[in-house]
């Protein structure tokens, strides 16, 4: 079955006065229809930049230097501005980390949602209002009439993010890209928003690309996940499998660093070292400098993303034999 979104060979770089900085180095992943796919990684690993590049929203000094992003088989990166404008908000929608700054402060909520809806659908003002009110209701907002006429600063963070979700889903897209949708919210609201996203997307068959740095988030809602490090995909798997049987040393390190009650009283495990400053310059495995299992080969050759049985993939020489036999 053709995947909904197929990212292949993607390379993204930033053109700075001090030289070219490579932020994403040859990544692959696919998203199937109806699934919730998570990308998890720490700050600066290239996950946000990847998500922006799907809709050609990379800010100016950044560009995609190589690769394809296929949506229903068509490469989005070759599309013109006008074509992208038709896709944005209509077939692919995106929500961002900080809902407060993502909404225009001088226009009412209803107006902003209406502008989006009427950009992509031929509806008159009255019908648009009806659809929006019902959408605001579906995202769990109380007193939708009042919200419709409010300004963004009159809403709480959680309410604002619900409004963003409403904006994203109003034209019934096929893919929702959610870039750290809960990071700026209170913990108690986080769970609600995640559940909302999962339920709405399950109900309407909308696929989701969820970007986060929080393993808890992926375990909560994502069917499959990819782990990013230093601009590369180091592991991909169905989420539960990833968490139960991580194959890549980085993933293993992340999981063992999580404080759990079982480890009470013991010192926290850490991954020694820091993320490389210029990952594009590294030959060999991106994680080699911090890996506890590092061999000489790791610093000279870059391990490809090996595919294991039942769909799990890991970019590490340690699984090479298993992949070839499995």
């Amino acid at each position: 079955m053709q995947p909904l979104l197929d990212v292949e060979n993607l390379h993204i770089a930033f053109d700075t006065p001090r030289g070219t900085l490579k932020v994403v180095n040859d990544i692959h992943f696919t998203i199937q229809k109806g699934e919730i796919f998570g990308i998890v990684g720490e700050s600066g690993c290239g996950k946000s930049v990847t998500s922006l590049s799907i809709l050609q929203l990379l800010p100016k000094p950044g560009k995609v230097t190589q690769g394809q992003i296929r949506f229903h088989g068509e490469d989005l990166l070759t599309k013109s501005h006008r074509q992208m404008r038709q896709i944005r908000g209509d077939r692919i929608a995106m929500i961002f980390q900080d809902p407060f700054t993502s909404l225009n402060p001088v226009f009412r909520i209803g107006r902003q949602l209406s502008d989006v809806l009427r950009q992509h659908r031929d509806v008159n003002k009255k019908d648009a209002q009806k659809r929006i009110l019902s959408m605001l209701d579906s995202v769990g907002l109380p007193d939708v009439e009042r919200i419709y006429n409010s300004y963004p600063h009159e809403l709480s963070g959680g309410q604002q993010q619900r409004v963003m979700i409403a904006m994203a889903l109003i034209s019934e897209p096929e893919l929702l890209i959610a870039d750290e949708p809960t990071t700026a919210l209170d913990v108690t609201i986080q769970a609600q928003i995640l559940r909302l996203i999962r339920d709405l997307c399950d109900d309407h068959g909308i696929s989701v690309l969820l970007i986060t740095h929080d393993l808890g988030v992926v375990s909560e809602v994502c069917d499959r996940s990819a782990v990013f490090y230093g601009g590369e995909v180091v592991e991909t798997a169905p989420t539960q499998q990833l968490l139960a049987h991580p194959q890549h040393p980085y993933t293993q390190g992340l999981l063992s660093a999580l404080p759990t009650t079982a480890k009470k009283g013991q010192p926290l495990t850490v991954i020694e070292g820091t993320v490389p400053a210029n990952p594009g310059m590294i030959t060999g495995c991106i994680f080699a400098s911090r890996c506890v299992h590092v061999h000489e080969r790791c610093t000279q050759e870059k391990p490809p993303l090996y595919t294991l049985n039942d769909g799990q993939q890991a970019a590490c020489f340690l699984v090479e034999s298993e992949a070839q036999h499995g």
Binding site: D15, T16, P17, R18, L21, P59
Partner: protein, 308 residues
């Protein structure tokens, strides 16, 4: 060599290492170079012109072709002559060479504006630092007074003061100082307030460094850059102000040469002797332009993340 390189040495110590590149326009390498060169050309022009004006102000008797006429001596035989080989910019109604008058006119322009801006800074900057640092009733008091003076249109207040005190260049300078100092107070106060919250200030206080030293050695140096930008542009604005006052008869008095005064004197002869009013205006325009451009360039150098 670009002006920016002259400054970058000092600046690189202060600027944090910024891994996120400043967004620039969509330019190819060639377009970018052109843009930078153009900007430097403007910077070169502005610095060059200002130096020229300073030179004129300092060395007027040496540079001017007819220094006596520049000071005010008449030459009744050569009234209102059009530009010629003898008088590159023609003569005025008293026969004086316009070019010489122009060169001498650089004196009140440059000196007066420098004095106004420096004194205004001398008054306004410490007041602003004190207000921003101590807060409370000190802040309230200083800011109320500042706001009051700011509430007057600057030039209007200056005009009123000069007309009471008597028209002369000195009075104009003093009047302008009174109108100008509040701007610096307000500027320094806001930067001080935000700096006050920084950790290094708290640390200094915790060690027991006295307030005076904190303000003079830690806070003020960090407020310097917007002050310098503002002061540079202000010199130009004050030149406009002094020449405007002179135009009204409220500034430099005849027979001294002053660009604004010359424009006023030339007004009645506009039809027959256009050069009389034209050239002084060009001088004012280019000088103010130079200071504005320089201020803009400085602003760019000090904070390249701003988009002007």
């Amino acid at each position: 060599m670009s002006i920016s390189k002259l400054f970058l040495g000092k600046q690189s110590e202060k600027l944090p290492d910024n891994p996120i590149p400043p967004p620039s326009g969509e330019r190819t390498g060639w377009q970018h170079t052109l843009y930078v060169i153009r900007r430097d050309v403007l910077a070169i022009f502005s610095v060059g012109w200002i130096l020229l004006m300073i030179l004129c102000a300092l060395l007027a008797p040496v540079i001017a072709p007819y220094p006596d006429q520049g000071r005010g001596r008449n030459d009744a035989d050569n009234r209102l002559l059009p530009p010629s080989a003898n008088n590159v910019m023609g003569t005025d109604e008293l026969g004086r060479d316009v070019l010489s008058r122009l060169i001498f006119g650089a004196q009140p322009a440059m000196v007066a504006s420098l004095i106004v801006v420096s004194v205004a800074m001398l008054i306004g900057v410490p007041l602003g630092a004190i207000a921003g640092y101590y807060g409370g009733w000190v802040d309230e008091l200083i800011m109320r007074i500042t706001d009051l003076f700011l509430a007057f249109p600057s030039l209007l207040l200056a005009m009123a003061i000069v007309s009471i005190a008597g028209p002369s260049l000195i009075n104009a300078v003093m009047a302008l100082v009174v109108s100008w100092w509040p701007w610096y107070t307000r500027l320094v106060r806001s930067t001080t307030r935000s700096l006050k919250e920084e950790y290094f200030i708290e640390a200094a206080r915790a060690i027991g460094v006295s307030d005076v030293i904190i303000i003079s050695r830690h806070i003020l140096p960090n407020t310097i850059t917007p002050i310098i930008v503002q002061a540079t542009i202000d010199i130009g604005t004050v030149i406009l102000a002094t020449t405007s006052l002179a135009f009204l008869g409220l500034g430099t008095q005849p027979p001294n040469a002053d660009w604004g005064l010359m424009i006023d004197q030339g007004r009645q002869f506009l039809r027959q002797a256009w050069w009389y009013s034209l050239y002084p205006g060009v001088a004012i325009f280019l000088t103010v332009l130079a200071f504005n451009l320089l201020g803009d360039t400085l602003r760019d150098i000090f904070d390249p993340r701003q988009y002007r």
